[in-house]
């Protein structure tokens, strides 16, 4: 099984079935929705790495709306739009709204698989960057605790040394008194 979960959204049952079969054959984890409303419900229930949606669908929830819903639920979900040649302009609009890519009909499957590979690679890189960041934060927290407590200890020791110096330089005290007081300070610290 490939490491990418895909939600296919298309009102055309033939295309939906075709996409589902071809993607499953390539070992992707695929689920399908017949319109924007079903897609919205499914996106609310589970996380998908990729949403592959038709741009033009009947009803008020078209591809652009599915894009907005998906991004709103989880901005890590990548959305690829499928468009007719005549609606390339709206596809460009969709890219501005955060779609990762678009494909023109009729679907060239080699092209689709290539783009999915790219998305998978990108997500792997993103995930390892996040893992590294978590590791870095953890290390940094541990380091800062150590460094800060050392910093406070050094400051305290410096203060003690200053006080000892003042006592030892005090001409009004007898030598044994100086030493006794200095030793007290050392013991306290």
């Amino acid at each position: 099984m490939k490491n990418l979960s895909i939600l296919v959204v298309d009102d055309d049952p033939v295309i939906r079935r075709l996409l589902e079969q071809r993607l499953k054959k390539e070992n992707y984890q695929v689920q399908v929705a017949e319109d924007g409303y079903v897609a919205e419900k499914m996106l609310g229930q589970q996380f998908f790495d990729v949403v592959l949606t038709d741009l033009m669908m009947p009803g008020t929830l078209g591809g652009i709306e599915v894009l907005e819903i998906a991004k709103d639920i989880n901005s890590r979900t990548e959305v690829v739009l499928i468009t007719a040649h005549s609606s390339v302009n709206s596809a460009v609009e969709a890219m501005k709204k955060g779609a990762v890519d678009y494909l023109e009909k009729p679907i060239n499957f080699d092209e689709l698989f290539l783009r999915l590979d790219k998305i998978a690679n990108m997500q792997t890189i993103l995930r390892s960057a996040q893992d590294l960041q978590v590791a870095m934060d953890t290390t940094e927290n541990a380091a800062s605790e150590t460094i800060q407590s050392l910093e406070m200890q050094v400051a305290k020791m410096r203060q003690t040394l200053d006080e000892i110096e003042t006592i030892l330089r005090d001409d009004h005290l007898a030598d044994y008194n100086k030493i006794a007081k200095a030793l007290d300070l050392v013991c306290e610290s």
């Binding site: 709204k97 955060g98 460094i147 910093e151 050094v154």
Partner: protein
């Protein structure tokens, strides 16, 4: 990518230290290559030596600027490490307001400086804390200054626009909704926060007494790239620029031990700040 040879490494490292104070370990040749290769290519240079010679000769300093931009662009985040901002909210600001107010009928002036502001996240985070703490209480006049050595960083900071990767880590959703506006695929800081701050270019290696004295200085995670000598000079100058009862905040993994005896560390909860002796 243009490869760098050992002789060039020494030459370029020295040059970068001269212009930025940043001391780059010569064992990290990949760092020079990944950051400077495109700069060299953009200026038609086939080697790093050629780039360094050309940059030195260039009286417009355009090449020097792009080298500084490439070397110093560091990732910063909103509320990176919550400690310093909690410290400011719960300790520093209340103390300062107490110390400064009610002496006259004039507005209480508080000057804050983010000494290596990069692309602005730290200073905007400070502005957000002040806005949240004081709402719009009259009687306070805050001056918030951010400075950075990189022109590119200063202009991005001034613009206040960030992509979702720069925004999503560190920034609470409530702050995002409240203080940012969605702008295409990016988020832009709202005018009410933008109007509180100023950014300008400054090289910390150069004198900066002209900026006046500050009540709070943030100088986090920049001196770590300097040699010990340069660090001593920097913190000594910062001590001169800090009000007698002012506060210095450095990075949580930094230390001033053996760097500047004029500052003494003080602890508040899980954070440390410094004050002059």
């Amino acid at each position: 990518m243009i490869k760098i040879n050992p002789a060039e490494l020494k030459l370029v490292a020295q040059y970068i230290q001269e212009i930025t104070g940043i001391y780059l370990d010569q064992s990290k040749s990949y760092l020079f290559e990944t950051r400077l290769s495109s700069v060299a290519e953009a200026h038609g240079c086939k080697s790093y030596q050629e780039l360094q010679v050309k940059a030195k000769k260039d009286s417009t300093k355009a090449i020097e600027k792009s080298i500084v931009d490439a070397i110093t662009t560091n990732e910063t985040l909103f509320f990176r490490d919550k400690g310093p901002f909690e410290l400011m909210q719960h300790k520093i600001l209340p103390e300062l307001i107490d110390a400064r107010s009610s002496k006259t009928s004039l507005k209480t002036q508080i000057k804050i400086w983010s000494a290596a502001s990069s692309t602005g996240q730290e200073l905007y985070s400070i502005a957000i804390v002040i806005k949240e703490l004081l709402k719009d209480t009259p009687g306070y006049a805050f001056t918030l200054l951010g400075t950075d050595i990189s022109d590119a960083a200063v202009s991005q900071a001034s613009y206040g626009k960030y992509n979702r990767f720069e925004i999503e880590r560190g920034l609470d959703k409530k702050y995002l909704q409240k203080f940012f506006t969605l702008f295409g695929d990016s988020w832009k800081i709202k005018d009410e926060i933008r109007a509180m701050v100023n950014f300008r270019k400054l090289n910390l290696m150069h004198p900066f007494t002209a900026l006046g004295k500050f009540d709070i200085i943030f100088c986090r995670n920049v001196a770590i790239y300097f040699t010990l000598e340069d660090r001593k000079k920097l913190f000594n100058k910062l001590a001169d620029s800090l009000a007698d009862d002012g506060y210095l905040v450095i990075g949580s993994t930094e230390s001033l031990t053996g760097v500047c005896p004029r500052f003494i560390p003080k602890r508040h909860l899980r954070s440390i700040f410094y004050q002059k002796q």
